[in-house]
């Protein structure tokens, strides 16, 4: 089965016919991060030009990329208007099981337990579908200028703007933008041109993905084997995505040769051992891979912001790569829109690095801990893991120590300069309006930019539009979130800027100003 990907046409840019418009924002790279950023800007009525070197979605010859989209990403996709397509196409799941022997369950958990968001904990879908839906959505939005096969080869800061050198099949040109979002990945030409250093590190653990279809009823759950007997006692991941395709990811001998473990014959024999010799299988894609890690010291260089893989790369445990790029994009988009729209001072943009770099740092340490559990590096580490698994079979406390990846969740901006008290992301809870209309928190975030939710007994500062919870807005989840005498200031990205008890109107105003970056 081969996927049929869309082909987007190359078009001449106005710059190639002598025009020299000043674009408010240029986004370099049409992957998850770049497309999300462009969509989030265009929806806020900011004209945006997106430059991508390719003419399709996904990465050529490597259809397997990220597959797990976390609740926070799904909530952002709801805001952008592509969630319904993703939900219809992908596999919604919430149950994860960890196994030791062939089918010897150590423990399982249901991520949906206690959740209040309209979006599920996870949907699995091939990354190129998400990119495809984002590209389709962007094409509908006025002010979005998508340029396929426009490859950025250089970047030069020029006072109040940046010049990008662009190459196309019809010749090159120079593009002028006030702000640039570099979402062009680990091998970013923009970063190289600006001389922003990074130090990528290569991991030693080796893996081989086999994306496969087979006709055997298996529940759409995330199964991870710590020591699979059918993989020489090494780890295995089993996960379903769209089109009935399963992602099987096998941990290899660190000394194995990638070109040998990824041949079709070897892949088929591994799958036979895993699924049974009689199971009919259809191979979709096979590819070896290893970890890489990199983290920029600063996600901003003048008028250029680095987002997604251009800023950080970590090993895939817990699905933190694509999901964090989507959060980078959302974080940056509302701030750029506020500054360009004259609602906030330029200082607001400093908070992008202040919030997203700690998030990436956290993701790196979290994924490194998982990698270390999954691939013990010494006889001692192996013994410690064995001792943990021995106890995990019997005791709940030890199951919490088993670390086959901590699933991606929104990072809380607790220490951000914009945060008065809070920083956590609110789930997209359902609510009822005073007039009887049904909606979710996402609708409020679309309507007003800084959402003020007041519990009973709180008063809004003069001129500030606020929602009275229990009166204007009803529903168990929102009423639990905003009990009487509490007030919340919620940012456009759904993160709590302030959670205050018995606030005076002046304190609320101060918190709102701080959230816009207006605080001294």
């Amino acid at each position: 089965m081969a996927y049929e990907l869309p082909v987007f046409p190359w078009r001449r840019a106005p710059e190639q016919d002598g025009a020299r418009p000043r674009h408010p924002v240029a986004v370099v790279g049409g992957g998850l991060t770049g497309l999300t950023a462009a969509c989030a800007l265009a929806l806020r009525n900011i004209p945006v030009v997106l430059l991508d070197e390719d003419d399709t979605v996904g990465v050529r010859g490597a259809s397997s990329r990220g597959i797990c989209y976390a609740q926070r990403s799904l909530e952002i996709f709801e805001q952008l208007g592509i969630y319904d397509r993703i939900a219809a196409k992908g596999t919604t799941w919430s149950v994860a099981r960890v196994l030791i022997g062939a089918a010897d369950e150590v423990y399982s958990y249901d991520l949906a337990a206690g959740g209040t968001s309209r979006q599920p904990p996870f949907i699995n879908i091939q990354q190129f579908y998400v990119e495809w839906y984002l590209a389709d959505r962007l094409a509908e939005l006025p002010g979005a200028d998508l340029r396929w096969r426009h490859r950025v080869t250089g970047a030069r800061p020029e006072g109040d703007h940046v010049l990008l050198d662009v190459e196309t099949p019809g010749g090159g040109y120079v593009l002028e933008a006030s702000w640039v979002i570099d979402a062009s990945g680990l091998a970013s030409a923009v970063r190289a041109a600006l001389g922003v250093p990074t130090r990528p590190q290569q991991g030693v653990d080796r893996w081989c993905i086999s994306d496969v279809r087979f006709h055997d009823p298996v529940p759409p759950e995330r199964w991870t084997w710590v020591e699979a007997p059918f993989n020489e006692g090494r780890a295995v991941w089993q996960h379903q995505m769209a089109d009935g395709v399963w992602r099987m990811d096998y941990q290899m001998d660190p000394d194995s040769r990638p070109e040998e473990v990824a041949t079709e014959e070897v892949a088929r024999s591994r799958l036979r051992a895993h699924l049974g010799a009689d199971t009919e299988i259809e191979l979709v894609w096979v590819g070896p891979w290893g970890y890489r890690t990199h983290l920029l010291d600063d996600f901003r260089c003048g008028r250029v912001f680095f987002a997604g893989d251009a800023a950080h790369v970590f090993s895939p445990f817990g699905a933190r790569g694509g999901n964090s790029g989507i959060q980078d994009a959302e974080n940056l988009a509302w701030k750029l829109a506020a500054v360009l729209g004259g609602k906030a001072p330029e200082r607001l943009l400093d908070s992008y690095n202040a919030e997203r770099r700690p998030a990436a740092d956290f993701n790196i340490s979290t994924t490194e801990r998982s990698a270390r559990f999954v691939a013990p590096r010494s006889p001692f580490e192996r013994a410690l893991r064995q001792a943990t698994l021995d106890l995990a079979r019997r005791h709940d406390f030890a199951r919490r120590v088993v670390n086959m990846g901590r699933m991606s969740a929104a990072f809380a901006y607790t220490d951000s300069p914009l945060t008065t008290n809070g920083g956590d992301a609110l789930p997209n809870v359902p609510l009822r309006r005073g007039d009887g209309g049904e909606g979710t928190l996402a609708d409020l975030l679309r309507e007003t930019e800084m959402v003020v939710l007041l519990g009973e007994g709180c008063a809004a500062p003069d001129g500030v539009r606020a929602h009275l919870v229990g009166t204007d807005l009803r529903g168990a989840a929102i009423e639990a979130m905003v009990p009487p005498s509490r007030a919340l200031v919620v940012r456009p990205d759904g993160h709590v800027a302030a959670r205050l008890d018995h606030p005076a109107p002046a304190a609320l105003r101060e918190a709102i100003d701080r959230a816009w970056g207006r605080a001294a």
Binding site: A387, A398, V401
Partner: protein, 64 residues
């Protein structure tokens, strides 16, 4: 972290650990001891005390 005597019967504990490891290879004893370590860590249930205990366990190597 408690560093004053707090084990009610130190000799009894010492003996119980020895008996539990009789007939084990060093590797098996390591695995036993790590299980014991995890069980005790869960009993303590205080991250600050656990970190202080890890530091205290390193001390005999770092200070002569």
């Amino acid at each position: 972290m408690k560093l004053d005597p707090n084990i009610p019967d130190p000799d009894g504990f010492y003996e119980a650990v020895i008996e539990a490891n009789e007939g084990r290879s060093l590797e098996e004893s390591l695995r036993f001891t790590l299980r014991l370590c995890l069980l005790l860590a869960n009993q303590i249930g205080d991250q600050g005390v656990l970190m202080a205990a890890v530091a205290a366990a390193r001390e005999p190597e770092t200070t002569p």
